[in-house]
Amino acid sequence: MRDRRAVVVGVAVAIAAAALAPTLSAYPLTLLTQAAIVAVLAMSLDVLLGYTGLPSLGHAAYFGVAAYAVGILATDHHRGFLVCLAAGLVLATLTAAVFGLLAIRATGTYFLMITLALGMVVWGLAFRWVSMTKGDNGIAGVPRPDLGLPWSLGAPLPFFYFVLAAALVAWTLLGLLVRSPFGLTLMGIRESESRMRALGYNVWLHKYLAFVISGAFAGFAGVFWAYYNGFVSPVDVQLVTSVETLLMVALGGPGTLAGPALGAALIVFLKNFVSVYTKRWLLILGAVYISVILFAPRGVLGAFRRR
């Protein structure tokens, strides 16, 4: 019924990546892994931004909170994968649940500002609560999960398949969500909150649910990021990370899920490519941002236009 094409293309891309992977050397493989993880983050924001029309500039908070949970539990406490995954998801969801109560009353620019401020609160905690997060030094030495498989997840190829599988699970769940009646409700809210209210929807509740679910999936990405990077630091919760995520959604096409995933891959590759030649990544990112907004307005602003 709805855009079957996106599903087909997405599956094709995943199969192609899986098939190509053994032929790639370590560096491109790690880039692909990074892209897959960040794609989940971007898709989680798309649910909130593209489908519900709520622009959040603090999404890195849930990503980072989960990453830190893994970082702390996997290093000092030597916890296994399942415990870390559960802790990361629970923490991210709880954070979103609390922040959502504060942010969901607002809309538009005000909402943007509040989510930004809340994101910075998390960053501040990461930076200053040194006893917990080791502050600016970050938490190093996060070991790859030991799942008892014959292949060590320390090697790039098995880890890539591990991440790909997780990303596909997330994508499937999110795909079901946006095609469900609840997903339609979110789009209705994006298009006209006043009409939704008149029809009988408790708009606040649906927005809040979208916020929490979105945060949970961001946390899911964060868990895998901690394992991928082996290192968790305030950089993972900083404003620039939230800004990059927003750009991924805007660049790829909000409200499509596949678009933001593509946008994520584009930004990851661009960032790594650019870093080889120059240190001026932020400058280029900013310029790309402004260009996208000026010259691809429907892609970016079409999702923001609500009544």
Partner: protein
Amino acid sequence: MSHYALRLEKVSKWFGGLRAVDGVELAVRPGERRALIGPNGAGKTTLFNLIAGALPASEGRITLFGDDVTRLAQHRRAVLGLTRTFQITNLFPNLTVLDNVLLAAQALTPAKFAMLRPLGRFTDLDARARQALAAVGLEDRAGATVRHLSHGEQRQLEIALALAGKPRVLLLDEPAAGLSQAEARLMTALLRRLDPAITLLIIEHDMDIALEVAQHVTVLHYGRVIADGPREAVKADPTVREIYLGA
């Protein structure tokens, strides 16, 4: 003693010093077709907003089939069977016609919380949506994006959205707004075809349409009810004529 479908007692709304609606008394019986007319600025849409719950009343009581809804939030009134359409078309522009009506159809069902099952599986909702589209004559346009519909088609969709929720009381805010003569005639026919069980309250600027669809008319002027009765009586009322001809 049976209840009125909709009852307003001394309902007022003021904004600072301005009384937009002043002590309105209204009693609409179930199944009645009531027109609410009056010159521009008379407070008709404000009154609708009060009844629907989009605005809180400053004073007075609003009851729906005997239930006091005065302090009830807008979306909860919809649950009790009160639906409204908008004077300025208020649809979901980037969604398809079918999706628009589906949103209306699922609004009062638990299905709207279903997160893991695709929309296509909910065949009863689909049937209800298509039924509403057929009632307004839009069944062929189900797949079109609302943004691309003509104004007339959008006005028809406005009503389809209201019907899909199986309302008990339907507030129609200028359904013929912006329609051509021909379209207005079709709209009038549509309104006359509506399920007689639904109670209708229509704001209509066009007196001819209003009097054709409704048997009973309430006239509003500067926020006050100045005439209320069967349409022939109101048509003949000298005060009403003065307002419309003299204004």
